[in-house]
């Protein structure tokens, strides 16, 4: 907490990680500023040092190499939505980024890296990354690490803290034969999401042969619920699957959020409603 914060703008990731390792907890990394600045403006956050990472070239750019799509952490939502490589290889992510809240200004300034590291339960990017089995690259003074997004969420030792930098997101391309969808329950256009679900399905002879589903905005972090829905595999879609999904989901969200947009009981129910909607929408894409 400082009345007179300092500002640092390192030019390389090396400089940046060295700098961060020497700073106290009052330092913050700033990229698009969409997460930090509202807190600063409200007086809830008074950082001692702002470390501006916008000059770090390693964090910029979208590339497709070795059958992997690499998205720099500084990539803004607008570019995730419009970039041809993202649209071609991971259309689910490109589509989900359209649902990021806050309107055009946030889409133009907010970065995918900032969206991930905030680990906000209601945000729109992580649910898709989970079922795409995305990985992230993390740089610190100790070196460079590559971890899966699910490990990043679940393992606190990977917590980024204020000493590490998320540099890029690495995703394997989606097969063209897959159906995919992202469904978001948003009660009013100005409100945050109340539940969302991303789904990727593959079918053969109309039967589901693989299924990945995640649910966000219901529990403190988005959850990959694919393994709980394994009994759906082998089935052709029919309304009885609704009940299976509802029943499976009912036990998955004991820690459901309760906020002013909705209580935990409602949110828990919305998990299955949105999961069903995303699976159905994904199946429809195959048709």
């Amino acid at each position: 907490m400082s009345l007179y914060p300092q500002f640092a703008k390192p030019n390389t990731t090396e400089q940046a990680s060295q700098l961060l390792s020497g700073l106290s907890t009052g330092a913050v990394i700033i990229a698009g500023g969409q997460e930090i600045m509202p807190s600063v403006n409200y007086g809830h956050l008074m950082p001692s040092v702002y470390v501006d990472i916008n000059s770090l070239k390693d964090l910029v750019g979208i590339n497709f190499e070795n059958n992997e799509l690499s998205i720099g952490a500084l990539t803004v939502h607008r570019d995730i939505q419009n970039n041809e490589l993202v649209k071609e290889h991971v259309p689910l992510l490109s589509y989900a980024a359209q649902w990021v809240g806050g309107g055009w200004q946030v889409h133009n300034r907010g970065t995918i890296g900032g969206n991930i590291v905030s680990m906000h339960p209601l945000y729109d990017i992580i649910p898709s990354l989970l079922i795409l089995d995305a990985e992230v690259e993390i740089i610190s003074a100790a070196g460079t690490n590559r971890v899966s997004i699910s490990d990043l969420l679940n393992d606190t030792s990977h917590g980024l803290g204020s000493k590490s930098i998320l540099s890029k997101i690495i995703i394997k391309p989606m097969s063209k034969s897959l159906g995919w969808a992202y469904e978001k329950l948003k009660i009013t256009s100005g409100g945050y999401g109340s539940a969302n679900s991303a789904a990727i399905v593959e079918t053969k002879n109309s039967k589901i042969i693989s299924l990945r589903v995640s649910v966000g905005a219901v529990s403190p972090l988005p959850v990959d619920i694919s393994s709980s829905l394994s009994s759906l595999i082998g089935n052709e879609w029919n309304d009885s699957l609704n009940d299976i999904i509802t029943s499976k989901c009912s036990s998955l969200f004991d820690d459901a959020l309760s906020d002013q947009q909705g209580d935990d009981q409602w949110r828990r129910s919305m998990a299955s409603v949105m999961a069903i909607r995303s699976i159905k929408a994904a199946l429809k894409k195959i048709e």
Partner: protein, 799 residues
């Protein structure tokens, strides 16, 4: 005068684009916060984190040591320099109790967010930082939050020297309700719970007080709806005469009642400026803006009805949770809720009892509708329930019970005198515009596909232009019309604009009355030094009394121009025409400028037929207001009774509880639309309030009375995408006692549209037997009601 012919030379009745709209739209408008002065200082306020606590001590030493801090003020020190804030509407005038309202808490705090201390510093962030270094030792008490508990005999009084938590308890009764209820075919009970939702203008409040060393006076630049009355209040708070205080209210970015005065920050900035001898500015944060409360009422409505739907009596025992006492006029909204019962309905037997209660929530301020929107919600939701239970079409039920258009002026059972109206005509126009019968067919078709469409009706009677005896809420106002030697016109009014466009409406009136072009007129408002003594904007009054007084003044100036023009042209003044700035008599003509210049320069010769200058000041005082109590002690504080009918079409997603508002139709009676765009703009805004209020806006507290809703993530207002197509119709019944029949158009719409939406959702869910009267109808609440209905009626096959 005035017509809807776009080719007419007259402006009244035309949809003229606002003269003052360019500034805000292009970013050039100067709002209060845009004013900065040499030596500008900034204030930040320390607010109570507790709903109820004793202040044992305040340690400001750490804050005072911070470089850049100029002054730290606590309640104890403030009490030496300033006096308590006089009430905008003193509760004693309505048989109530009065509390001492201070700018900073003294000894104890009675709500979350109450100002406790203030820091003034060279920079805003320094003030903010210093506030975090003030150490207050609180002895926390159990708060009183629930109004039902607040009314219990053992409840602790929120105001320590009161014997109960009742501000006032007032009956509104007429006829023999007991007999009507006991002999009714049916008595239908509905509990309507209206929640706490407020008004949130884009521009929050801001005050910048400037100490004028030369004259030892204060100029307050502020977001102020009522500059002259505030000056009177500040003279008492600051112990200074009114002529040493100037209030300047520049462009306002929305007010809706929030910027009616009595706020502690008004006096605080002034005294801080006086103490520091420098300008002191405070800009309200959104978190602070959300501290204002309104509307939270619980109604227990009983309607005595005949089988054919005729309502024979209304009983309503209602409780208003007005929060902690405040000097602003908020609390009195609950009085208006009772006074305007039973709204547009010809029910003579009335038994209404208001209990206005204080609790440890933050206090109310005025909010668009001023209590009349809650009357509409209580009545309309109850009538819909009755229609449902009687199996009568809700449109038919309303038309059956409306006061008929030939019954005006109508003496209401609470003592009001309604000027004019055609309520069933209004509602039928709204129904026709949206194809009410057609939607009934579509609804049935949709249900076959498992889609739940609802059709809902709402009606709102919104008396406007109110005047409360013994207060500076006056029914009249004053304007000056001044024409310069060059023929340009300045209109100075006592009314002000919250951004609603009334200056354009007033200019249209003056242009026609004077006979000049609209773009030669400039309307000046909101400055106590230059404008006539007036009462600002509130209660949809500005065009009624601002326009009415400006018209009177313009007529007098016109007479002078005609006289001098006749003298200059050497013709009989009866032959002189003046329209759109063209002065003619037969085939003779003369320019307006030439005549005006002559008035100022030839006062001893050809212009001696008039008294210079070309200026006139006039007051318009509408009739019908009656402040002398009748034999039952009742008064009529309003000259005009605007009204509006609404039909809302919704679709409810029964899996999520989400409601989509598909379409809404409104027919509005504002007496006479000076400028239809302005009227429609007001209705659009009011409907957006109704959408937010009925579905998503809600201010909630934890069990300790701490407010949980403190940003727009939690206080969810509708955005453009949430507002559907609005079908607007005008159905004007001119008011016989106002200029051109004006009734006011600033408020009507909040309660009517909110009720139509609530009734529409309940209508959509009628296959489940669901009736939700506990607002707002959030998705979780709607969803839970459907779940409960399904659990209770598992045999019912729906969807």
């Amino acid at each position: 005068m005035g017509n809807n012919d776009e080719n007419s030379d007259l402006y009244v009745g035309k949809s003229v684009r606002t003269l003052e709209g360019k500034g805000p739209v292009s970013g050039r408008a100067k709002y209060t916060s845009d004013f900065n002065f040499d030596g500008q200082l900034y204030a930040h306020i320390l607010r109570s984190p507790h709903a109820s606590a004793d202040i044992k001590s305040i340690d400001t030493s750490a804050a005072e040591k911070i470089s850049g801090v100029v002054k730290v003020l606590t309640g104890e020190e403030a009490a030496k320099y300033i006096d308590p804030i006089p009430h905008y509407i003193d509760p004693t005038g309505l048989g109530g109790k009065v509390a001492t309202i201070r700018c900073l808490a003294l000894d104890y705090v009675w709500c979350y967010g109450q100002p406790v201390a203030v820091v003034v510093a060279e920079e805003k962030r320094i003030a903010q930082y210093a506030v975090s270094k003030i150490n207050v030792d609180y002895d926390i008490k159990d708060p009183v939050i629930d109004p039902a508990l607040a009314l219990r005999e053992d409840a602790k009084p929120v105001v320590r020297d009161w014997d109960s938590n009742l501000i006032t308890q007032l009956p509104f009764s007429n006829g023999d309700p007991e007999k009507a209820i006991s002999s009714a075919d049916e008595v239908i009970q509905t509990e309507v719970k209206v929640h706490r939702f407020s008004t949130q203008p884009i521009e929050t409040r801001c005050y910048n007080a400037v100490w004028e060393a030369e004259t030892e006076s204060i100029t307050l630049y502020g977001t102020v709806q009522n500059p002259h009355p505030l000056r009177n209040v500040l003279s008492k708070v600051l112990r200074m005469p009114e002529n040493k205080i100037r209030i300047h209210a520049p462009t306002i970015g929305g007010a809706f009642g929030l910027k009616m005065h009595g706020h502690p920050e008004e006096g605080l900035m002034c005294i801080l400026s006086k103490l520091t001898r420098r300008p002191v500015k405070w800009v309200e944060s959104r978190e602070e803006c959300l501290l204002v409360g309104a509307r939270e009422q619980v109604h227990n409505v009983e309607l005595a009805v005949k089988k054919d739907g005729t309502i024979t009596a209304l009983r309503d025992n209602f409780v208003a949770n007005t929060g902690a006492p405040s000097a602003t006029p908020g609390w009195a909204m609950s009085f208006l809720t009772g006074l305007t019962m039973p709204g547009p309905y010809a029910v003579r037997n009335l038994d209404v009892l208001l209990s206005a209660v204080v609790t440890n929530k933050p206090g109310w301020n005025a909010s668009r509708g001023y209590g009349k929107e809650v009357t509409a919600m209580a009545l309309e939701i109850s009538i819909d329930n009755a229609a449902r239970q009687l199996g009568i079409d809700p449109l038919e039920m309303r038309c059956k019970n409306f006061i008929k258009s030939d019954q005006f002026p109508y003496d209401s059972p609470t003592g009001l005198i309604y000027d004019s109206g055609d309520y069933s005509g209004v509602l039928m126009k709204a129904a026709k515009a949206i194809d009410y019968e057609g939607w009934k067919v579509k609804q049935k078709e949709a249900l076959k596909e498992g889609r739940y469409i609802g059709i809902g009706i709402g009606f709102e009677l919104t008396p406007e232009g109110g005047a409360v005896p013994g207060t500076l809420v006056a029914g009249y106002d004053t304007s000056s019309v001044k024409v310069g030697p060059d023929g340009s016109v300045r209109v100075l009014t006592g009314v002000t604009s919250p951004g609603s466009g009334n200056p354009t409406g007033i200019a249209q009136i003056v242009a026609d009355e004077l006979g000049v072009k609209l773009d030669t007129i400039e309307v000046i408002q909101g400055d106590t030094t230059t404008c006539p003594y007036g009462f600002g904007n509130a209660s949809g009054r500005s065009t009624i009394v601002g326009g009415g007084s400006a018209a009177k003044a313009a007529k007098k100036v016109r007479e002078k121009i005609i006289k001098v023009a006749a003298a200059l042209m050497e013709v009989d003044e009866k032959t002189v025409n003046l329209i759109q700035g063209n002065i003619t008599s037969g085939d003779k003509s003369i320019s307006l400028e030439e005549v005006c210049y002559a008035v100022y320069t030839r006062a001893y010769d050809v212009a001696s037929v008039v008294e210079p200058p070309l200026e006139s000041t006039a007051t318009f005082k509408p009739g019908l207001i009656r402040h002398t109590p009748d034999e039952n002690g009742r008064i009529n504080p309003y000259p005009s009774y605007s009204n509006a009918g609404f039909i809302a079409i919704t679709e409810v997603d029964i899996e999520t509880g989400q409601t989509k508002l598909l379409k809404i139709s409104v027919a509005h009676d504002c007496g006479k639309a000076i400028n239809p765009i302005l009227v429609e703009g007001q209705a659009n805004g009011a409907i957006s309030f109704g959408i937010g209020g009925s579905m998503s806006e809600n201010i909630v507290f934890d069990e300790n009375g701490r407010q949980l809703t403190n940003n727009f993530m939690d206080y969810v207002m509708p955005r453009a995408h949430d507002v559907p197509e609005i079908l607007q119709s005008h159905h004007d019944s001119p008011n016989p006692v106002t200029y051109m029949g004006l009734k006011g158009a600033g408020e009507a719409g909040v309660g009517g549209s909110a009720s139509a939406i609530v009734n529409s959702v309940n209508n959509a869910l009628s296959p489940f037997g669901v009736l939700i009267t506990d607002l707002p109808l959030t998705a979780p609440r709607v969803w839970a009601a459907i779940q409960l209905a399904r659990k209770n009626q598992p045999q019912r096959k729906v969807a």
